[in-house]
């Protein structure tokens, strides 16, 4: 805590340990490593005057120390909601209506607001899409860093300033001594996001929630920021929940990936497995609909229809009206996460007892893609 390993060669720690994938895939993780974040049966409701909308329904996952869990889904799938529920930034009238959230073994979803506030920043760092929402335009970034550090760590002004410098150096701000007194608007978009990362890391939190951290950035800068995020978190052993809609970002950053659909977690597993051999028909369709650089197809695979609105989620499996394999059971009975491939999928195709039959897809499906 006293000195940051800023002298470490960038890249030296970048490759993720190979054993992590294997360990992370088993669910729940073996007793030896307690997960940093443990979410069980999380349910978030939005009462409206017509009906109570269920924005998150029975979402469970773990994130191990040093692990990057990617949370993907299309707009309205509940991926940002999951992050916001963990840090309790749900917009009213939304509220957690069931389940539990544990941070390093300690239950945090039932804490009173004043007990929860100190967790933000100290134990959970946050990085949002627009760096300008996380930075106060009226204060220099040095002041903001020093204030954050001193709020959470027992340091005097001088020590905190030293640490702020070290952090800025670590996130790759050139000549940090001269930039410490600059204001957010004097930085470019990429540099601002680096400052936000420094700010999120300031108190050495165990968990970082990054919500679309690179969506507002150009591709060339995106790569820089993701590499940085991955490196600094690996160095500190911080767990990362990376929320994004971009499978490419997930593919190169995450260790495991959780796919969400209509407020439910429908598949979770090691990232390469989910991308190459998706087990849930929705993930399958999603992967196949992404245009790739490697090959050129006349037509992209398209999943017909659109994700249901929260007010009209179908009974049974939420994906059943769009699913090529849907059977009677899918329309009535909601599947739990079942072991599938190297991960888990919430789909009756994978029921060990009585699996629903896979229908041959009429169109070019995943076979054609890879």
């Amino acid at each position: 805590m006293s000195s940051t390993p800023s002298s470490a060669e960038p890249g030296a720690v970048e490759q993720a340990p190979d054993d992590r994938n294997a360990a992370a895939a088993s669910h729940p993780p073996d007793g030896g490593r307690e997960p940093v974040l443990c979410v069980r049966h999380l349910r978030v409701e939005f009462p409206t005057r017509h009906a109570t909308l269920v924005a998150l329904d029975d979402v469970s996952f773990d994130i191990a120390p040093g692990e990057v869990l990617g949370v993907v889904g299309e707009s309205g799938a509940g991926k940002s909601m999951t992050g916001n529920a963990v840090i309790r930034l749900l917009e009213p009238p939304g509220h957690i209506a069931g389940g539990e959230v544990r941070l390093a073994g300690r239950r945090i979803d039932d804490l009173a607001e004043e007990d929860f506030v100190p967790l933000r920043g100290r134990h959970i760092g946050m990085i949002f899409q627009d760096p300008l929402t996380s930075l106060n335009p009226l204060f220099s970034i040095g002041d903001q860093l020093v204030e954050t550090i001193r709020a959470h760590l027992p340091m005097n002004e001088k020590q905190a300033r030293e640490r702020a410098l070290a952090l800025l150096r670590e996130v790759g701000i050139p000549a940090p001594e001269t930039r410490l007194d600059s204001y957010p608007h004097q930085f470019s978009g990429g540099m601002r996001q680096r400052v936000v990362i420094a700010l999120a890391l300031a108190a050495e939190p165990e968990l970082i929630i990054a919500d679309e951290p690179t969506t507002a950035l150009d591709v060339s800068v995106q790569a820089q920021i993701l590499a940085l995020l991955k490196r600094v978190c690996a160095e500190r052993g911080a767990a990362v929940m990376l929320v994004t809609h971009d499978m490419g970002v997930i593919a190169e950053t995450a260790d495991r990936v959780a796919v969400m659909y209509a407020g439910r977690l429908i598949e979770i597993g090691p990232v390469n497995e989910v991308i190459r051999r998706p087990q849930h028909p929705y993930s399958e369709g999603l992967m196949a609909s992404i245009p790739g650089l490697a090959e050129r197809r006349e037509r992209l695979y398209q999943i017909e229809g659109a994700m249901p609105r929260l007010a009209a989620i179908p009974a049974g499996c939420a994906f059943n009206p769009r699913c090529p394999h849907a059977a009677e059971r899918c329309r009535t009975e909601r599947p739990e996460l079942l072991p599938a491939g190297a991960g888990q999928a919430a789909c009756w195709l994978h029921d060990p007892e009585n699996p629903v039959a896979r229908r041959e897809a009429p169109q070019d499906t995943q076979e054609a893609t890879r």
Partner: protein, 347 residues
């Protein structure tokens, strides 16, 4: 090139549909006069587009790619006459349209009804107070005032079905539809007058991937059916690869490289094209680290001297800092604006 092109009476069926030469658009981004005097600052000019030339052949898709601030959307707006040209010349199917921005109403109707534009934001591109039928019928009311309202309604229904919606949707309001459906409505409006040429400004970047696939497929189907010519603007290399026949890579208001799509993806020449391709996250790569590129796009108000890319380029020398490179055609069909490539320091 264009198998089912409905022959337009009297149109000159040349191979080249649109020719843009030396397009430039500068914006005055200075502070108000009083601030300038008090702060002793000069006028500031943003050269959003500065000397862009290309041709689009009938029936093909030319893509413009680049990062934010490279001027690709400005080029789109110059072509359809939303902005006036600061310099340069635009010829559409043999007709000069350089002054289109100053011509509105009936005087330009003959030329304007031959092209259309599709916008990025499906939530802002439809008038929220109008019914979908009125929105799609708007070009018809303007270009074909002689059309009866019954015929117009029938045509609107046809258009809606063509883009995969139902004719009954004409009676609904835009807010009742999802982003993907709104983009279909935009496309239906653009198709209303059977245009030959469509300028598509990031038509899918506000959409989810599965919806993007639907829209891209729809656009390809429409292109085949009507022999449409597309100018397709995007920042997403994978989408561009899927859609385009030829690709122009833009950087800070200029074209760095134009090449046939397969050519560009196989052997990019310009260092910036290489960088862009290397930066694309890949699903296939086995945990492949993207090549991390240093630096960011500079502020376009104060572009670097000479070749604007030189501060980020490993191959830059003194000449690159001083002299703006011109687009030079190569034997493989690509055109590249790079001193290093021209001199053979880089191939």
């Amino acid at each position: 090139m264009s198998p089912t092109q409905p022959v337009q009476a009297g149109s000159n069926r040349s191979e080249v549909l649109l020719e843009a030469s030396d397009l430039a658009r500068h914006f005055d981004v200075s502070k108000p006069w009083l601030n300038r005097v008090l702060e002793r600052t000069d006028k500031l000019t943003l050269k959003a587009v500065d000397g862009v030339s290309f041709t689009i052949r009938r029936g093909e898709t030319l893509a413009l790619v680049g990062e934010s601030g490279c001027g690709k959307s400005t080029v789109a707006r110059l072509i359809v006459g939303l902005y006036g040209l600061t310099r340069g010349r635009l010829v559409f199917d043999g007709q000069e349209i350089s002054d289109l921005a100053r011509r509105s109403g009936r005087r330009s109707a003959a030329i304007r009804q031959r092209f259309q534009m599709i916008f990025q934001d499906p939530y802002a591109s439809l008038n929220p107070l109008w019914r979908v039928g009125t929105i799609i019928g708007e070009p018809l009311r303007f270009f074909r005032p002689e059309m009866s309202s019954v015929d117009r309604r029938r045509r609107v229904g046809e258009l809606l079905e063509q883009v995969g919606m139902s004719a009954a949707d004409a009676n609904r309001y835009p807010h009742e539809f999802s982003g993907g459906q709104r983009q279909r409505i935009s496309i239906a409006r653009a198709l209303a007058n059977e245009p030959e040429f469509m300028v598509c400004d990031e038509p899918t970047s506000a959409l989810d991937v599965s919806v993007q696939a639907q829209i891209l497929n729809l656009m390809k189907d429409l292109q085949q059916e009507y022999g449409l010519t597309y100018l397709f603007i995007s920042h997403d290399m994978a989408v561009v690869k899927h859609m385009a026949d030829r690709i122009a890579v833009m950087y800070l208001g200029r074209i760095a490289e134009i090449a046939p799509s397969d050519q560009l993806f196989a052997t990019p020449h310009h260092p910036y094209s290489r960088m862009l391709l290397a930066a694309v996250p890949s699903l296939e790569g086995e945990g492949r680290e993207r090549t991390v590129i240093q630096g960011e796009v500079p502020n376009p108000v104060h572009p670097p001297s000479g070749c604007a890319f030189h501060p980020r380029c490993h191959h830059a020398n003194e000449r690159c800092k001083a002299e703006v490179p011109a687009l030079i055609a190569r034997s493989d069909g690509s055109e590249v604006a790079c001193h290093a490539v021209e001199e053979g320091r880089l191939d």
